[in-house]
């Protein structure tokens, strides 16, 4: 006996297919409805471009945290992007395939390590090294950048390798047959053909770095100020939400949701750019 007809099955499946998109809309709706009224009441300009964050005095300016988030993400890029892309090219062009098939999943394991563990390593190992060698409190912009740079490596390496391997083998053979070295083939052929995928991997890494919370709370020091050097303690947008959410009420809580709105918008923009870049690659293929 058939419980549900074929048509019924199709309808049920279609409904579930909208689960992800409705979850996304629900998230957008609730974050915006909590955060936007505050932004309108407080004024977008005062909220975004003032650095005074004193919730007990009713001052909610997140400029210092925006700057801190940008610097930390930029720092993570400087650490993670060159290392990750170099790694991706080495593994896909210089190393035999079977070795790459062992190393790639091993590096992807880096992504599975919980972010609190990264933060803890930052506190126990990295911060003391920085404090002893460069001065400052140790928990700083620099340590946050390095830890985040390491955390985004798997994203960059894994997606870059996929896009480098998607370049047709005949391109490489053509270049090598003309007498080019592997390095010349990389710089003149492979990198051009896999550019959009590599850029997408870096943008996705960027998104991960901006959104990372727990590791940053542990290693960045969390004082609200515009950093003057890499050794200063900073507080990012994400850290601000997570640190104060547990006790915030009323206007203060709305301000934290408004911080979430800013973060949400930035992430959606970054992801849209990345997904356009990845689509472009697929179309080319």
């Amino acid at each position: 006996m058939k419980l549900i007809s074929e048509k019924g099955v199709q309808r049920i499946l279609m409904l579930t297919a909208f689960s992800a998109i409705s979850a996304l809309l629900l998230i957008a709706l609730f974050i915006l409805s909590e955060g936007l009224p505050f932004i309108f009441k407080y004024g977008l300009k005062d909220f975004l471009f003032s650095s005074e964050w004193q919730p007990n005095l009713g001052k909610f300016g997140i400029f210092a945290m925006i700057v801190a988030s940008l610097w930390v993400t930029f720092g993570a890029m400087i650490v993670g992007a060159p290392l990750g892309v170099a790694c991706a090219f080495f593994l896909s062009e210089y190393v035999p395939r079977y070795i790459m098939r062992i190393i790639k999943p091993t590096i992807e394991l880096l992504a599975a390590i919980p972010s609190v563990v990264y933060g803890f390593i930052g506190v126990m190992v990295l911060a003391p090294i920085i404090r002893d060698n460069f001065g400052g409190p140790g928990l700083s912009l620099l340590s946050a950048s390095i830890i985040l740079g390491i955390m985004i490596l798997p994203t960059i390496i894994s997606i870059s390798i996929d896009s480098i391997l998607a370049v047709p083998q005949s391109y490489r053979e053509g270049s090598l047959a003309l007498g080019a070295t592997i390095w010349q083939t990389i710089t003149m052929v492979t990198i051009k053909a896999s550019k959009s995928g590599i850029i997408a991997s870096i943008i996705l890494g960027l998104g991960r770095a901006i959104g990372e919370t727990m590791a940053v709370i542990m290693v960045a020091g969390n004082s609200v100020n515009i950093p003057h050097s890499a050794l200063d303690s900073v507080r990012t947008l994400t850290a601000n939400i997570a640190l104060e959410m547990s006790y915030a009420t009323g206007l203060h809580r709305q301000a934290l949701f408004a911080t979430g709105v800013v973060l949400f918008v930035v992430i959606i923009i970054l992801n849209s750019i990345a997904s356009v870049a990845i689509r472009k690659r697929m179309v080319k293929k």
Binding site: A17, V95, I210, I241, F264
Partner: protein
């Protein structure tokens, strides 16, 4: 002066090779550092005793329960939704604007940082729906978070089932749904399970989304409306509030072992799947 391409090539190999070596060394260092400090702390008592004095002494038993329950609930909710979505996307419809929107939504959801999931889970499940800080709120939040992973990996697994399997099934007079149930899902199962395992791994290690939705109670939960504390949250609180470095290392090591076990078995499954296919 022009440098001979062969020397540039050698230089490039050296630089790229050392970048790769550095990455692998960092990975090995992180795992060994935590295990070396944490393994001596782990014992049967550590795993099965209740924490004393906010975790300063005693074991981590209640957090083990929380770490099992939350991902379990998340998967019970997210797996059917994710698998059905991927079945719909790959078997029941052609590429059109609707599927494009669904894919875009899934991609966006995958990129949302966990703190935003935490905020959303707090305002929606904890406050608006009135579930409070509970296993239910935490599990639902994690379910939304891992949904894109399950959709993507299941879709890949389903698409990897050869077209001829479907044709044979259809030619025998089977309907679409019968084909999905009897032919496609059984063949795609290892790939789907891999995605589910990776989701478990992510849920186990999650902190920001859990701490604001499931709370951090150290009591052993008796219903889904009770608050609970996962290992990751426990570790965060121990480390950040400097309660006990020793127990923090022990918890971190247990956490890493759990996550590695889950992920390694996912890879093992995936490799077997690929080997069978070829």
């Amino acid at each position: 002066m022009r440098i001979h391409p062969r020397y540039i090539q050698r230089g490039a190999v050296a630089i790229l090779g050392s970048a790769t070596l550095l990455t692998i060394l960092i990975l090995i260092f992180i795992i060994f550092f935590v295990l070396e400090k944490g393994l001596p702390v782990i014992s049967l008592h550590f795993l099965t005793d209740n924490p004393e004095d906010m975790g300063k002494a005693g074991g981590i038993f209640p957090t083990l329960i929380g770490t099992i329950l939350l991902p379990l609930l998340a998967l019970i909710i997210a797996s059917p939704l994710g698998i059905f979505t991927s079945v719909y996307l790959s078997e029941f419809t052609k590429e059109n604007n609707v599927t494009k929107i669904i894919r875009f939504g899934t991609d966006c959801l995958a990129g949302i940082p966990s703190i935003i999931f935490g905020l959303f889970g707090y305002i929606f499940f904890v406050v608006t729906l009135g579930f409070g800080w509970s296993i239910l709120s935490g599990g639902l939040t994690l379910a939304v978070m891992v949904l894109p992973t399950i959709i993507r990996t299941s879709e890949e697994a389903i698409r990897a089932v050869p077209k001829s399997y479907r044709e044979v099934s259809f030619s025998l007079g089977a309907s679409r749904w019968q084909t999905v149930k009897k032919v496609i899902l059984p063949n795609a199962l290892p790939g789907i399970v891999t995605g589910v395992m990776l989701s478990i791994g992510r849920s186990i290690g999650e902190t920001a989304a859990v701490i604001f939705t499931a709370g951090s109670s150290l009591r052993i939960p008796t219903s889904v409306f009770d608050s609970t504390r996962t290992m990751a949250v426990h570790f965060y609180i121990l480390a950040r509030e400097g309660i006990s470095a020793e127990n923090a290392y022990g918890t971190a090591a247990t956490l890493i072992i759990a996550v590695l076990l889950v992920n390694l078995s996912a890879y093992w499954l995936m490799n077997r799947f690929i080997a069978k296919r070829n």
